[in-house]
Amino acid sequence: MSLPMESILLPGNPACQGCPHALGLRALSVLENVVLVVPAGCTTIISGVHPKASFSVPVLHVPFASAVAVASGLAAAYKQEGVEANVVVWMGDGAADIGFATISGAAVRNEDIIVVVSDNEAYMNTGIQSSGTTFWKAKTTTSPGGKSEEKKDLAGIMLMHRIPYVATASVGYLQDFVNKLRRVSEIRGFRFIHLHSPCPPGWRFDSSKTVEIARLAVKSGAWILWEYDGRFRISSPSKPYKDETKRVPLEEYIKTQGRFRGLSGEDIEEIKKKVEEQWKFVLTMEKTFK
């Protein structure tokens, strides 16, 4: 392992026990000269209660939809001044909903920033409401019977934006995430990472299971790790699961989470189909961008 020993997120912060954002933020510590831009979300809370701040790097809180645009402005100013900086937007999946035009616009402009969407598949900070990336059939407070729409494939969509770097990652595989961040720091332009972040209270599982569930998502093939930097590659933790027979049964992933309680066998079959389709897409991309 070559992970950072330190974390830009200091101990004693307000994150819940077993918080996935906290894990993801640890990994960000590999980047230098970070300026963190944080839209509304759990991380707003995690950043501490005034006058104390939980981060050892500068953090700029910004309105929910604005983060990527604020980052563009910071980057422009630093460029004008010749200030070395890695402007990193750390946002939730909800911020990626309301702020999607902003993300898309900055991607099209190829702004020199890093955007990490830490995806806990719901608006957690406001109390577990459905977001675009909420998993099909997952129960949230605004989808009490299970979400009727599919999970939005953020990374796939960003791939179509022809930006220099897109990847998926998982808090269950920090080494892989850190590797990707290292790669990212060698590239200029708009870089996007979609980070899978299972959340104990939001998904209803015990706080000790965050990493395990994140890994089950990968092992069952429900979350696929890949990276595009001109070439498209399936990342090593996911590689074994190209082979369907190697995958852990999807049920093992599903059943760990209270949000999926009461799913029918049919529902699970349906999810399996969706997973299959996603693999097909990812494998095609691998072939296309060799």
């Binding site: 809180h61 604005s66 402005g73 980057a75 100013a77 004008q80 200030v83």
Partner: protein, 377 residues
């Protein structure tokens, strides 16, 4: 240099002379030519700045916010629906105490779609902590833009220059444009109370005890109170340097011996002044207090009008009550006559003002009247 410029080009010129370093804006009629001009200046290398072609106004002000908080002079411009679309950011930048300048070309809010001037859009900013200025002519728009950077940076509050759609934005007028060196002499280097830079582990905007928010708002209230003096000082020193002094928060026009006073703001003040001249020629003791800054609100200045007959001409109406200027002026000196005119860009010219002022002086106006009465019934 004496030249001919539209209001929008004059603003762009002023931004260039103020050495803005980051510009982000989104097109909207009638603001667009400001941004186009700046894009061209950057493209030609006349202006050493980053130009960000954002995908919305919310992002325009967000980007400018980022640039400003990183320590660079930054500028944006918008109008009407653009302002409403960035409205969340309007409040945010003020509460964050970030100095920057925005040009606001005033335009009617839809529906129906309408691109002409009234002041409703600009005045939605009036609670937010922005310094709000309103130009009467192209020269004043130019001068206010340069002064805006200085004032904004002295009090850590954002500054907006309001200019009327078309009547200023697209009207070419004679403008005195100073050269770069003169502006450099007058406008100090960028200053601001804090910056976000890599390596400096501060966090801006954390949740905290409610009392902190309240204190921040109080400090802001004080800062904008302080800006009264800063504005006056800037007006004076600008006057000394460039020969144009306007009088601070308000401009007084023929107030000597005036018994009737008109309070108003914006491009149509020129028409009203022409009308006042005519009536003065006839011996009617009428004058104008032109509002140059609506925030900070010129309460002391307006207080001076106590005892006079005051007519407030409004180009903005607060639904369910009265004209916005009318209401605020009333809150200082009690009952005034309030005319609502020019809404939706309806053209109001010298003759109209002459007729209006005559009616006013002969006490034939209702306390609250939509002008001209025949049209609204």
């Amino acid at each position: 240099m004496r030249t001919l410029l539209t209001g929008n080009y004059a603003v762009a010129e002023a931004v260039k002379l103020s050495r803005a370093k980051v510009i982000a804006a989104y097109p909207i009629t009638p603001q667009t030519t400001i941004v186009e001009k700046l894009a061209e200046m950057v493209e030609k290398g006349e202006l050493d700045a980053e130009f960000i072609r954002v995908e919305s106004e919310h992002s325009a002000l967000a980007a400018v916010y980022g640039a400003a908080i990183a320590g660079r002079r930054a500028f944006t411009a918008t109008s009407s629906h653009g302002l409403l679309y960035m409205y969340e950011m309007v409040w945010w930048v003020a509460n964050a105490r970030v100095p920057l300048v925005m040009a606001m070309v005033t335009r009617t809010i839809g529906p129906p779609w309408n691109i002409h001037t009234d002041h409703t859009d600009l005045l939605t900013m009036r609670d937010s902590g922005w310094i709000i200025s309103m130009a009467e002519n192209v020269q004043e728009a130019f001068d206010l833009t340069i002064q805006g950077f200085r004032i904004s940076e002295e009090v850590d509050l954002p500054f907006t220059v309001g200019l009327d759609a078309f009547q200023l934005s697209h009207t070419a007028e004679v403008v005195e444009v100073p050269d770069q060196q003169e502006v450099d002499e007058w406008l100090p280097e960028r200053r601001q109370s804090y910056k976000v830079l890599p390596g400096n582990a501060v966090t801006i905007g954390n949740i905290g005890p409610n009392e902190y928010t309240a204190k921040l708002r109080y400090a802001m209230a004080k800062a904008i109170e302080d800006s009264r003096k800063v504005i006056e000082k800037a007006d004076n020193s600008f006057g000394e340097k460039f020969g144009r002094k306007y009088g601070g928060l308000v401009e007084e026009y023929r107030l000597e011996g005036a018994e009737y006073v008109v309070v108003m703001a914006g491009a149509w003040c020129g028409d009203a002044k022409d009308a006042i001249d005519r009536l003065r020629d006839e011996g009617l003791p009428i004058g104008m207090m032109k509002i140059r800054y609506f925030r900070p609100f010129p309460k002391e200045e307006i207080k001076r009008l106590e005892g006079k007959e005051v007519l407030v001409v409004d180009r903005a109406f607060s639904m369910g009550y009265m004209g916005i200027f009318g209401m605020e002026v009333s809150s200082v000196i009690g009952d005034v006559t309030n005319v609502i005119a020019g809404i939706g860009g309806v053209d109001v010219g010298v003759e109209d003002f002459e007729a209006m002022f005559r009616k006013f002086a002969s006490r034939k106006l209702q306390r609250l009247e939509w002008w001209p009465r025949e049209v609204f019934s």
